[in-house]
Symmetry: none
Subunit: 220 residues, 4 copies
């Protein structure tokens, strides 16, 4: 995660692309915020990740808090967009609701496997007390959208006679719970040299159970 390469020789400050600067800083901020928490992260360390000095960071962000917000904002857009895209294609071709659900969860989990994106939810969880707006923002931009999309698909499945009529709200949460599990496990509880929960397989297994359950049918 460190960009050791950049600090090579005396590559002078003004030679690097300034356009990428904010993003480079946010990369550093992500690392520090995640490993030290917002309060514990030191601006100087964040700057160092981008090969910059303390003061330079303030040319791009007004404050530490500003950086946190930008960081969350940056992670939100891509995932939020894809989410709706999938739901929009319901009924097109002849994709089953089951396939659509699989695609959606796969996409979510896939995106969140990217460290730059998956590290954000735990960060938000940790800072929810200090920055409730951040949690609210993330809920609206990501979680609500995902839920809405899942809802559409599940209701579509029910209408098609493909799914049983279950409490949709709870069903959605069961699906999303797996994503939470994956994120938190891989970012918080996995041991340093232990294999992470592979989203491809885990989500597929999860969907499978979601669809078919685990109980052996009474008369097969």
């Amino acid at each position: 995660m460190q960009n050791l390469e950049e600090n090579r020789n005396e590559s002078p400050k003004w030679r690097r692309e300034p356009k990428k600067r904010p993003n480079e800083i946010l990369d550093g901020a992500l690392i520090e915020f995640c490993s030290r928490g917002f309060a514990g992260a030191r601006i100087e360390d964040i700057a160092k990740h981008a090969g910059l000095s303390k003061g330079t960071v303030y040319l791009y962000f007004d404050s530490k808090e500003d950086m946190l917000k930008a960081l969350v904002g940056r992670s939100v857009t891509p995932i939020a967009q894809n989410m709706g895209d999938i739901a929009d294609h319901i009924g097109e071709h002849n994709t089953s609701a089951a396939e659509l659900l699989t695609n959606m969860l796969m996409m979510m989990a896939g995106r969140l496997s990217d460290d730059k994106i998956g590290a954000i939810p735990p960060l938000i969880i940790g800072e929810a007390g200090n920055f409730p707006e951040l949690a609210a923002f993330y809920r609206e931009e990501v979680i609500e959208r995902a839920m809405k999309a899942l809802k559409i698909v599940i209701e579509f499945g029910i209408k098609q006679g493909e799914f049983r009529k279950e409490n949709t709200e709870f069903a959605i949460r069961t699906l999303i719970g797996a994503v939470f599990m994956q994120i938190i496990w891989n970012n918080i509880f996995v041991r340093t040299n232990e294999k992470k929960l592979p989203h491809e397989e885990f989500i597929r297994a999860h969907i499978n159970i979601f669809l078919n359950g685990i109980v052996v049918p009474k008369e097969a």
Copy 2:
């Protein structure tokens, strides 16, 4: 899994059973840690919750960090114990695996509905960077135990012919994912005057799907 034993012998200070006063302090610490994060919490505010002054806290805890550890320790013991209890009774009476799973999840979710206990996991998630030992401790004492218990039940169900043979590890995580969902939703993302996710109903619905899936059987 390997250092379960170690911790038992060492009996670290943060697992001790404190008397009344320390507990009052920890109640205050919980409130402050959760709303401000570990770094943001001020000892003076914690003390105030217990009707004490700053200095007095130090008669009971060596440091702020010590308090965090004690806090987590305090929340761990009860839940960890119950966990095993249930798995121990497998095969007794003639409880089905399905019933056992329901009982276990219900118990977990029930406990974690208690704010004093449910607030801990988000706290740990937020401080995992600063205190990896805490996450490790919690994994070992709570999550691993829960998983082990769930595993036993699921394997019991499979052996009984009650459950299909699924990837047990993933199935366990699907179950636990719902608990994560419940905790995080209720502690982080729920809006101030919005109804919390009721664990009784949600967990029941979740288990139902887990057992039977949501797809309408081909030929019923």
Copy 3:
């Protein structure tokens, strides 16, 4: 101005009277504000004058700005009070307006000869840009009161036939101008080892001219 005595041996922190603390701090603030300006004064240096450490200052004042305001406030009360007292006694006994004016100016200049009080106006002048409220406050509490008192006396003198009818507003300012001169000269322009402008003599001479002018009467 330094309190070298206090720092003697290891006289522990908690042994000194805490009641006097704020005043001691303000004494230090005065010294530093006057010699370095508000912005240039370092809290640590201010604290050192009172034999305290940086942090302790914040037990008594919320901020540097707070200290400045307290400092001005402290200097204002005594002078503002005396001012009115004198005007209140007009007509009592058979004091002439001339005597009253002399008493008033003498009192003002006398007070402002005390470094702790005379150093404030130049400070306000220097910080008027940053803290206009301070200048406004000082005008109202000190200058306006002084002017009002002088006005009463001068009008009394005119009514008595003791004074010629001059533009009172301007006359007042002529009187006060001398006080300004005295303050600014002694605090800003006087050389390090040059005699300060002695208010007793200077104000007396000034009043004398004010009363009688300097022109030799045409036919004496």
Copy 4:
């Protein structure tokens, strides 16, 4: 008085006659120094007033301090020159000492009514602690010269039998006090939408009192 000569030879950089650009910069510096104080003024803001960027300022001035000195230097020359001019004409024509005094004070007050010049003394007062040389310089270049000129006129008046023999040093200060009053009042204490002290009228009234006093002669 003694180092008037020195300064003339040394011709310090801050008395140089800058070209157009530097003057524009100083105009900006004046505004910022006066409204924020020396320490509070930001080079970037000063530059903006002149339509320049931060770095450019350093092509014309070595440092912020250098700008302050240049600023004061710039304001000093014109007033200092006029001062002597008047005194030089004493005895020419048949101007009375009274008229001469009036002319001199009128000129001083008139000049200082120009914001660019009148804003300087309060600035010096505020920064006297940080830059005692500035106060000393101003005293020598402006105040001492004004005093010397006034002294000559007053002594001339006494010799002519036009003035009574008063303590000349004090009398001078009484005169100058009015100028101080005018500057400080108009630059510091006047309210935002309040009329400034009009130097024409105020100085005329002041001189009138100075010459004739305010007491009604005993037997007129």
